[in-house]
Amino acid sequence: MSASQILSVAVFVGAYILIATERVHRVAAALGGAALMLALGLTNGETAFHSIEAGIDWNVVFLLLGMMIIVGVIKQTGLFEFLAIAAAKRARGKPFAVLAMFVVITAVASAALDNVTTVLLIAPVTFLVCDRLGLNPIPFLIAEVLASNIGGTATLIGDPPNIIIASRGGLSFNDFLVHLAPFIVVLMVVFVVVCRWLFRDAFQYDEKRVAEVMALSEREAIRDKTLLWQSLLVLFLVLTAFVLHGVLHLEPSVVALLGAGLLVLISKVTTEDAIADVEWETLIFFMGLFVMVGALVRTGVIDQVSHALANAVGGDPLLAVMALLLISAVLSAIVDNIPYVATMAPIVAELVAAQGSTPQAHSMWWSLALGADLGGNATAVGASANVVVLGLAARNGTPISFWQFTRYGVVVAGLSILLAAPYLWLRYFVLA
């Protein structure tokens, strides 16, 4: 290894340790690492800001920004509160039926919006409904987080790692729908059934309290009907444009930005309110990560790691896919899956390129996505949505401990990977 390679690895590993251990804020660690890479000449301004292979992936940054604006406006409509309360009333307050409906709503919304926002919106309604039914909200919250990570796996915009994978792998919205969504539908069915057993102690039905849920007025949750229709129209247009990528040839980031701009233009929402929910910290974190990973690409570290991995699997794509699935799941359970995928994406890109454009080679992208997204369910710190819900639960006086979450998370993540492995094998190696 050359001196620049050793230096870039040292800076990267140092920043990664700081991110994983949360010794400093993750944005500070990513930006600090990026600054060091630039200061040491391991990358430069031209590469960091303008290189497609080794620079900040602006497609990812602007896709996230556009979707955050759209979701921020939808949040103000009260749509989620309406849907969840209507579902609880339709379930007539029966705990398992309520949980099943909530997890399905969460999974679908996570696929169409993003999973962190979805859990932020579903959690308050969960507290309310559980409060009214005299139920412990913890099993409901855990089930919803797990469902959000499963549902988010289905689409390009559902989970931030997917956005990185799509951009680095040149994959479209439809690719995700075709390759991941069918499996996720099956997994969701299995998950709902497993929830019946996993949270069996939580379903105590008190008929007397059902009236308290039935008395809630879900229609009142919709504060601005015009804004609701405007938001739904824009979301529909954006999703349609994602699907019609092959015809329109518009990058997902461009579609998201156009949608955000259109929504701000046609609605009465002020610019300040529209951007109030943009997670600037997350966007900056992504930029820092991209600069650091870009330095590894520029100094040839990624190239060397890819070659080493290719040698290790001995050119056996099935072994590569299964190893990637398992390693991604385990590592994503321990550290945040965003930096993991940001690092692995260029390595997988090289491995796929080395094996030619075969379905088996391409399945490595799906292996990475399934491993990272579903593995994030295993522990309380595996995915951003988990951390967000744990924080919400603590704030509302029902704290969920790390092990309390992990006890359920490990089962669901393990089961998901157990099902993902035969899916990948059958679809890309047996039936391809």
């Binding site: 809630l216 007025s217 006086g397």
Partner: protein, 216 residues
């Protein structure tokens, strides 16, 4: 007198009030003496106005002890529902909380009672607040206070409101600045162990708006 005051505490407050009244009387006395010199209405009012203006122009500064008034107290161990009812029935902005020895600990504003009974998730989600049926919502709120003590209503010690407290000599603006800084509707006026009473926002504003040259 205060609804939940121990006898010793009541005596302290009573004494404080007497002192405050005496001080007010002392300020008012010159006005009364001048008033007896002329029998007609104009003759009665004019000297009073003159006296007030003269007092202000001579640099008289109203002190916290002049503004302090009697106020309901509750103990940390008192029933939370009773404290809430005290605020509601007497239309008070809050109550002063005292410990077992009768020493003021903090102020319990009505807004803190609301913060306790309205779940955090409803406070943060305006859409959710709208879906409650009025009766069910009210019942849920009342049930949260049942069996709780005043101590449980208060935020944790680290987050507890700083006791808004000034000495009897504090000026009008000192009182206003303290209340503004701490967002408190009440201000305790005390010197050492002697409590003069409490200044309320409404009383303070009344005095500020009635300053010479300004019509409320």
């Amino acid at each position: 007198m205060a609804a939940h005051t121990s006898p010793s505490q009541a005596t302290v407050w009573s004494a404080a009030l007497d002192r405050a009244q005496r001080q007010r009387d002392e300020h008012e006395a010159p006005m009364s003496r001048n008033a007896t010199a002329r029998p007609d209405m104009h003759a009665i009012v004019a000297p009073i106005v003159t006296a007030i203006t003269s007092t202000w122009s001579k640099g008289f500064i109203m002190r916290a002890r002049d503004l302090a008034e009697d106020y309901p107290l509750v103990h940390l161990t008192d029933d939370a529902l009773t404290a809430a009812r005290l605020i509601a029935e007497q239309r008070r902005p809050g109550v002063v909380v005292v410990d077992a020895d009768g020493r003021p600990v903090t102020v319990l504003p009505g807004s803190q009672v609301l913060r306790f009974i309205i779940p955090g998730y409803v406070q943060e989600d305006p859409s959710l607040a709208r879906v409650y049926d009025e009766r069910g919502g009210a019942e849920a709120c009342v049930s949260k206070l049942e069996g709780r003590t005043v101590k449980e209503l208060l935020p944790s010690k680290e987050k507890r409101y700083e006791l808004p407290n000034v000495s009897g000599d504090a000026t009008l603006i000192e009182c206003a600045a303290m209340m503004a800084r701490l967002h408190s509707p009440l201000l305790l006026v005390s010197d050492g162990d002697t409590v003069h009473g409490v200044v309320t926002t409404s009383h303070l504003l009344e005095v500020i708006l009635a300053t010479p040259g300004k019509t409320p």
